[in-house]
């Protein structure tokens, strides 16, 4: 669906389509869900195959798995605290790897990027939001409301501070969701636009293919940049989740 009728169709790639024929149609199983399943398979498969030898001196895949785990454990440990953070490590690990593999999978040709759907990113962000709120209530009870009005602030500032704090708290899942969605969507739109340029320019007679090299080179650079963005956005999502968990556990 590159350039149907010589127009640029940058958004068609985000269209949801059911897969697996009538069964998929019946349960609303789309290529997006298929890619989620694939991502989960890659994550679990990497860990299970990597750790299957349980070697004291790790091989490549085991090293990758271990350093990924230690990376997340350190991240959560540094933000939330070595002891309190332990039980959140699997959750942040799941979030980070799911988003990371989803982002990277989306860069492969013909693949679908489920992290470019705001429904997906917002659902993940909302899970984080529910988690931090539940954790904060469970650990601090009513004192949790003190979070919205810092101790020692003059009381006449309450009408200003409390709404600001509440809005900033509520905007956390929104900013998490939109950041990831916007980055992924923008990157893929850009890739698609330049790819379409390559096709359109390539069709322009004799000189066309030579001019088409320019958007092609741009696209190569953008792919490299998008790999960076894929890593970075997964990292940002994970570290912001850790910071929110820190607030929930320690209340500032």
């Amino acid at each position: 669906m590159a350039a149907e009728g010589k127009t640029i169709d940058a958004l068609g790639q985000f269209e949801l389509k059911t897969v697996l024929g009538p069964i998929g149609e019946a349960v609303g199983f789309t290529q997006s869900s298929a890619h989620m399943l694939l991502a989960v398979g890659i994550i679990i498969g990497t860990i299970m195959i990597g750790m299957s030898r349980r070697a004291v001196v790790p091989g490549r895949l085991q090293s990758l798995t271990e350093s990924l785990y230690e990376f997340i454990a350190d991240l959560v440990g540094n933000q939330v605290g070595q002891h309190e953070g332990r039980r959140f490590v699997p959750f942040v690990f799941a979030l980070f790897t799911f988003i990371l593999v989803g982002n990277l999978l989306g860069l492969l040709p013909y693949a679908f990027t489920f992290t470019s759907h705001i429904a997906v990113t917002f659902t993940l962000a909302f899970i984080v939001f529910v988690l931090i709120t539940v954790v904060a209530f469970a650990l601090h009870g009513k004192k949790f409301f003190g979070y919205f009005f810092p101790e020692g602030a003059p009381i006449w500032l309450a009408p200003i501070i409390i709404p600001v704090e509440v809005i900033s708290y509520l905007s956390r899942p929104v900013s998490l969701a939109i950041r990831l969605f916007a980055n992924m969507t923008a990157g893929h739109v850009l890739l698609k636009v330049f790819a379409t340029f390559v096709v359109l320019l390539g069709g322009l007679g004799a000189v066309g293919p030579f001019i088409a090299i320019l958007p092609l080179a741009t696209n190569v650079a953008i792919v490299g940049f998008e790999i960076l963005v894929a890593l970075l956005q997964a990292y940002v999502f994970a570290i912001l989740t850790s910071i929110y968990l820190h607030d929930a556990v320690h209340l500032h």
Binding site: L11, P90, A94, H117, L124
Partner: protein, 165 residues
């Protein structure tokens, strides 16, 4: 933008599938995958700690052995020193005894010799008196006179006393 087409039932289906799939991922991670990783990491940490401990124990053992060795060396040296000193003392004592004995023997011999010499001289002196008396008698006889034995003896005694004085 297809992502914002919230009327599309597939969007809702996608959220449901996401919850199911992400839940499954979380469950598999907590139940199977991550405990394995943790287990291996802990095992390695425990092994390294055990190795470090063993190395520490070996080092302290070696230190103790070294100290024992040093002590033994010092003891042996002290023993040898005292043995040398004792032997030296003994040898000195023996030498002193021997030289004392020797001195005593020499002194005795000297005394004996002196005594012998004295007797010899006395004998010689006795003989000298007799010789003098005989010589005097024979000289007087040559001169043609009869020597009075008593007078000769007295004269010889006088002369000898005068010589000895």
């Amino acid at each position: 933008m297809p992502q914002l087409d919230f009327g599309n039932p597939l969007i809702i289906a996608q959220i449901v599938w996401l919850l199911i799939i992400f839940g499954a991922l979380y469950y598999m991670l907590t139940a199977y995958a991550l405990p394995r990783v943790e287990g291996v990491l802990e095992e390695r940490a425990a092994r390294i700690a055990a190795d470090l401990e063993a190395a520490q124990a070996a080092k302290s053992e070696a230190d103790a052995a070294m100290a024992a060795h040093r002590e033994a060396t010092a003891k042996a040296r002290a023993e040898a020193q005292s043995a040398i000193a004792a032997a030296m003392q003994q040898a000195q004592a023996e030498a002193a005894k021997r030289s004392e004995e020797l001195n005593a023997r020499l002194a005795r011999q000297i005394d004996e010799a002196e005594a012998r010499i004295a007797t010899a001289r006395d004998q010689a002196m006795g003989a000298l008196r007799q010789v003098s008396a005989e010589t005097t008698t024979s000289l007087v006889a040559k001169l043609g006179a009869k020597a009075d034995a008593k007078a000769v003896d007295a004269a010889v005694d006088r002369a000898l006393a005068a010589r000895a004085a």
